[in-house]
Point group: D2
Chain length 346, copies 4
């Protein structure tokens, strides 16, 4: 009937098509209510027909999701102001140059995952420092050790030399957690000037310098053409004997064959959350390693991170609707967005 | 020969009898050299004969170790200024009242262990929050889960409700590590006025209040007559469903029968570092629990903590020799030292 | 033509015309050398002739300064990637919409001043809290008071209720300095969602709420049509009796007539760094106030801040030349840049 | 005799004789009510007759104040557990050795003042860094300078070299305020081992090293035989040209004649809160100095500090009455208490 329909017409139109995410997972009830209060949400979550999408596109001020957006489609999106990617990475199915030209924000939800990844990373590092999962396993077979017996290789984080490979969303979330341990933190990040690191009390270094000078190394870099196998055999050989390597960003950053041989040789310890193939083959030789803590791509995707996506989306869409810049999601830098080599998590 | 011997006579005498600790474990080379430079060390590490001890006692300004020191012995220790306990707890084999009367410092090395315990405690808490050791085990049997599948019960520490049971050395070391997560921290400590807690941004509460209001609970209390089975069945039932309990101080603070039944029922998750008997019986029903992270009294006794004991001892003995108060070891409060119910770790 | 000339051709062209700033003030020797190493600098500092500028413009990748840049000029700047404003504010002599359309970064040096302003602001606040300059004046006339006599209205910052009006560059720089006092901080900033403030431990509030609930109020807002006389008579009357007001951003944010009457009545204390006319008239009635700390637009413009501008410029121009986004200067948000109502400082 | 009389008999007796402090100044209503609830307070505030004091002494568990307590008097105080000095310093009218022998705590209220002194010290330092009071004075004579004109010697605290002379109550309260500026902090304190300073991120140094390496120097040392004129002509000549000296602890630590000549010569800037004679002579040549910020022994004695004394006293007396150690007041170290050279503030 007339009036309520008329009123709703004044709300800006937002297309919701979050696949492969699900609306119910990324929007808590409060976020969804807030979204619907401020916007007319066209829900295409379970609508595969591209014509429906194209029908609504010219009216939409924002898209929540990561549909294909080639130039011709973007040119018909006359009112579009923002694309809210809700999957954590930017994929090549969007014409980012056209977005920049048209003043369309491309927004990512990386910040929603950063705290979860940071906490998991710290947990993995302490596990490696203290042998937590290793000794827990021993207890379950009756072979546990008490007091100092199982602590020969146990070390402190306090005052340790820590290296960060990459200093983006993840590094910034991890930094305050690490600072509580009063460490020396060295960082390799070729996308940042040294001054930015120094202002935060971090020591900039080359990749080789950071690897060679650190007892704990956190691999937090995203994948680009340049960072693929950034940690190959030569780089892994720079790691200090007995050091602890935590890999939580992208498997492609590390040469896993080289990693396997060095772990098998007991050169250092590692915790790995991302794998070249997921699931890993049942007979993968990694599975026999005792100096490896296994994690199944679990660092980021926890309930609190998923619902946070919805909160970020609503806040930033409201900012944009009010004529203000987005402040919570990650604004894709036009220089970087086309460099990422991401593939969807399945 | 004459002179060097004469000169060494001017150094104050210190008795070194650290059993069951070992000199080589608690003194790094630099600490031992510093000790010998400032003091004439009478090494009784492997001398069981009490007469040797009694012969030196009247000259000694300090004892490193925890020998029996009844009143009559103390009265003969005319120059004694300090007893440096190097085992982490105060035992009832010293007449503390006489020490107080004679102005003899009784010093403990609890601060040497505090950082190690704090880091281990945080590692256990993150493990409970994220299922790190549980999923590592699954990986080793080929039953691992990826991405969100294994994260249904994963939670953040950031912004969490955290409860501390006891706020002494361990709590003070853990506090800065926790604060990085911007949590709400409630504390039960009947030995401290509320104001001391409030000044540090902590919320004082009764035991029941803290247990009922927290998602993470760290048990950090020492054992006294009052704190034995402080966490009995009734108290454990106050814990929130799905909460995470970390026990790292003394097993006697918790009723383990009550703990077992509640863990078996899946009421909450726990990480336990101290056990009613160590080693635990091979057939202990605890060993079958999946919601328990096992640790074999490993939180404190790591190499960095042991060598720190020697550093604390040397620094404080030098302070005392210079007419200054000790500042690194824990000065046993005369009101509290007789309340502890400690037994040596074997 | 010589080799060195050929080589220098490969460096991107940057136009340097910083007026009313001076190159020697904003570039330290190292920054200037770095700028010249990476770029071919066309120095138009003392060249008034616009033709010279227009001749170089088509080649320039960046402009350091704030010349007039209407649309027609920008359209001829085919290689332009960045305009580095070195005066601290964005002025209306640039066609910002065209910059956005062309993908030209408009960068401001506000971050260079933020630390200096934050430290000065804290100094003013402590002066108001403790009567530092007032009692210093008394000493010079022999009328000083000792111990408690001059402290009747002295208050602590620790645990105080603090209000921030605006939370941009200045607020972010001031925040860590304030947090050391464990205060409650309320913020009014209509350009930010509440969540952004809450995540940093700040309490969002309306202007009225923040004014009424704070003992210390820092006015850090920029001037827009909406914020002119944001603090008028009605708002100033919300301030707590005896509260302390620190004004360091823009004079136009406050109704100075209303401020004068309230200060003259002794309603509260204030420190003012920015004035409706600079210099203030010699006979301004403000000059007689004892509950006012005077500062002559001195909060930001100190040597360390000026040379920092050059560092920011060089770092960001190098980022851009390397195909990376700028990370040190403030990227002008296209939504906001046209709202500011700035006039050059003379 | 009445019931209420009988009940009150069970409360431990406390003698209240705070002169030259006043009860109304150091006890807020809540503290006074709490004191009376837990203790039978014998109020001798305005009772000069020593016999009254001596009559009550044998029953008293604690004394609030600083009456003469020679050995013979202490020996008659059979129940005495604590002497709560409420004047901020320990005076030689108490037989401290006998107190130690009898197990009587001697408690000082230094911690009550520490935050006030720390905030004032920081305010003085920023004033010296930025010329706040100097330019405020200029404004009042119409000779103010704007923007960069008055800022030639303005410097940042951020990243500065800071020296602390003495690291006791005051240093510990000042430290978190300074750390927000990410400085390098060097400390001279001959009563502490280097390790204690290093653990807090401070660099230990000799007096000469600290003075020569610092741009800001805070003098926080108490007066002993060794520290009298600790900063004489030779030491003041080590200060960097243009450095900023903040003196807030005791005037006797500095040779004021040497200070005057160096300030008159413009060697450095200083802020002084404590003076060789208070009040200073009206014709003191110090009064003409423009590079000196004057403060009249005002750093600690503010209302919030005074009422905090009462809070500390009540909390610690309750601790002691409950068989627990005091935790809020400063327990006088028996090694140090007789070294102080204090005279009452009049």
């Amino acid at each position: 009937m007339g009036q309520s329909g008329d009123m709703s017409e004044t709300r800006p139109v937002v297309i919701l098509q979050p696949a492969p995410q699900r609306t119910a997972r990324i929007f808590g009830p409060a976020s969804l209510a807030a979204l619907r209060e401020s916007f007319r949400v066209v829900d295409l979550e379970d609508v595969a027909d591209p014509d429906r999408f194209d029908d609504v596109l010219p009216e939409a001020v924002a898209i929540i999701g990561q549909p294909d957006l080639p130039r011709e489609r973007l040119l018909r999106a006359a009112r579009l102001r923002a694309i809210c990617n809700v999957e954590g990475n930017f994929f090549p199915n969007v014409d980012y140059a056209t977005c920049a030209e048209l003043g369309v924000y491309v927004l990512g939800c990386g910040p929603a995952y950063a705290q979860a990844v940071a906490e998991h990373s710290l947990g993995l590092a302490i596990d490696l420092a203290r042998g937590i999962s290793r000794e827990d396993r021993a207890f379950r077979t009756g072979s546990e050790r008490y007091v100092a017996d199982g602590n020969a290789d146990a070390i402190l984080l306090r005052g340790a030399d820590i290296g960060l490979i990459g200093f983006g969303n993840l590094g910034r979330a991890l930094l305050p957690l690490l600072q509580a341990f009063a460490p020396t933190i060295r960082v390799f990040d070729p996308w940042l000037p040294d001054s930015v690191l120094r202002e935060q009390g971090l020591e900039p270094g080359t990749l080789a310098e950071v690897l060679a000078a650190s007892t704990f190394v956190f691999v937090l870099a995203t994948v680009t053409a340049e960072s693929e196998h950034l940690l190959g055999a030569a780089e892994l050989d720079l790691l200090r004997p007995g050091s602890r390597l935590v890999l939580v960003s992208r498997a492609a950053v590390v040469d896993f064959d080289a990693l396997l041989s060095r772990l098998a040789a007991g050169r250092f310890l590692a915790a790995v959350d991302v794998w070249p193939s997921e699931p890993m083959p049942p007979d993968s030789p990694f599975r026999d390693l005792d100096n490896l803590v296994f994690s199944g791509h679990r660092a980021g995707g926890i309930p609190a991170a998923f619902t946070r996506i919805g909160e970020l989306v609503v806040d930033d869409l409201r900012q944009i609707a009010a004529g203000l810049p987005p402040v919570r999601m990650q604004v894709a830098a036009r220089e970087l967005v086309t460099r990422y080599r991401n593939r969807p998590v399945t």
